[in-house]
Symmetry: C2
Subunit: 236 residues, 2 copies
């Protein structure tokens, strides 16, 4: 039977063998919620890059540049890290280069060893689960966390995916059990359950409660972003 | 106000500044439960060491040697890693050198930067909480985990300590919130809550269910092991 495991932060990725695994990267507030939204609204590809400089270099080649550091937009870039910025008709068919504090770094790390890299969010939870059921590989959910530390919202997403796939995958390790139990504890009111988390407090100070509420909605889109080469593209 | 935080595994300790913190190391199954039991029963000191070789070297100097690797006793050593082995009258006044897969390594790591290192278990939870209330420092609970990965039982202990100290300490970070919520979810029946964890399954195969049940009991002892130089000694 296939196994589903969770890595609570990219700083623990060295403990996992990825040889036979699909890695699902989750950065719920807000990188992977933006990616799912953008691809659902018709962006052609999103290229995750690790640094501001790489992002600027792609901007010079005609990409739209999206950058966030410490939850703030970066000067001179086309897009910020709010999912609502990714709903514009003007973005249809565009190529986006994106760098964020945690999410894009996790994707880079995952790319090094995994069979395949996908992007997850509550927004595409059901579609992602269906896609993963059809694959023959183990799954590692890589929570992007915050600067190396685990965070609540990404852990909850991992738990939600584990709960959705528990009949088809073995849940063996304690990290996935903890994520699953936290999700079951909070699932009836996720916004209330994350209200005291460190990241939510950080974001609320920036006045972006609506991004939080939006990103905790389940199954708005059926798109699954998959990494092909250096680009995330939509798998419907 | 003082802060209490949790580090879910020693592999994340680099993310924490220990300058102003007391580190409480927890390795519930079974190193820190053994330490608390042994000091409560009259062992004079326990010297945690990282390697089997260091432990043997101290054995030659007259220490009793305790070693565990992968949950098994090591050939030629005086004590194993079952808390019941630490209840013998013959141990009163003795010096013990101990090495275990996870717990003693965590103590070594903590020693490098912390103001003070204490040892926690469910067995001494209340005494430990009282001691920490009287201190002026922040607290970091360092969960020993299993070979770098977070585990359920140590996380639950961290949550129990956070719950006990929530009125006197700020609980700011997501790791401590997750631990606290898991503890509150499981506290009415901890043995059932940990029954599916990876470590419990590992230990059950070795036939040591009684160690598990014992180690999940709260407030059997009022001893708080504190590191003085290289030795853990009892603080009553």
């Amino acid at each position: 039977m296939k196994q589903l495991d969770v890595c609570l932060t990219p700083d623990l990725l060295h403990l996992h063998s990825l040889d036979n695994s699909i890695v699902v990267v989750a950065d719920i507030f807000r990188a992977t919620s933006c990616m799912v939204t953008g691809l659902a609204y018709g962006i052609e590809s999103i290229t995750p890059v690790a640094t501001i400089e790489e992002c600027k270099a792609l901007q010079l080649k005609g990409y739209l540049a999206a950058a966030e550091r410490n939850a703030l937009k970066v000067e001179g870039f086309d897009l910020d890290n709010s999912p609502f910025s990714y709903m514009s008709e003007s973005l249809i068919g565009s190529q986006v280069a994106m760098t964020t504090t945690n999410g894009t770094l996790s994707i880079s790390k995952a790319k090094a060893g995994a069979v395949k890299v996908m992007v997850g969010a509550f927004l595409n939870l059901g579609a992602l689960a269906n896609q993963l059921r059809a694959e023959q590989y183990d799954i590692l959910v890589l929570c992007a966390g915050w600067k190396g530390r685990p965070n609540l919202e990404d852990t909850l997403f991992a738990g939600a995916l584990a709960e959705a796939l528990k009949d088809e995958f073995m849940l063996m390790e304690d990290s996935v059990l903890m994520a699953q139990r936290l999700y079951n504890q909070g699932k009836n009111n996720l916004p209330a359950f994350v209200a005291n988390s460190s990241h939510v407090r950080r974001l609320q100070r920036l006045g972006i409660q609506k991004d939080i509420t939006y990103s905790l909605q389940t199954d708005l889109y059926d798109v699954v972003p998959v990494l092909r080469g250096s680009k995330l593209v939509a798998h419907h």
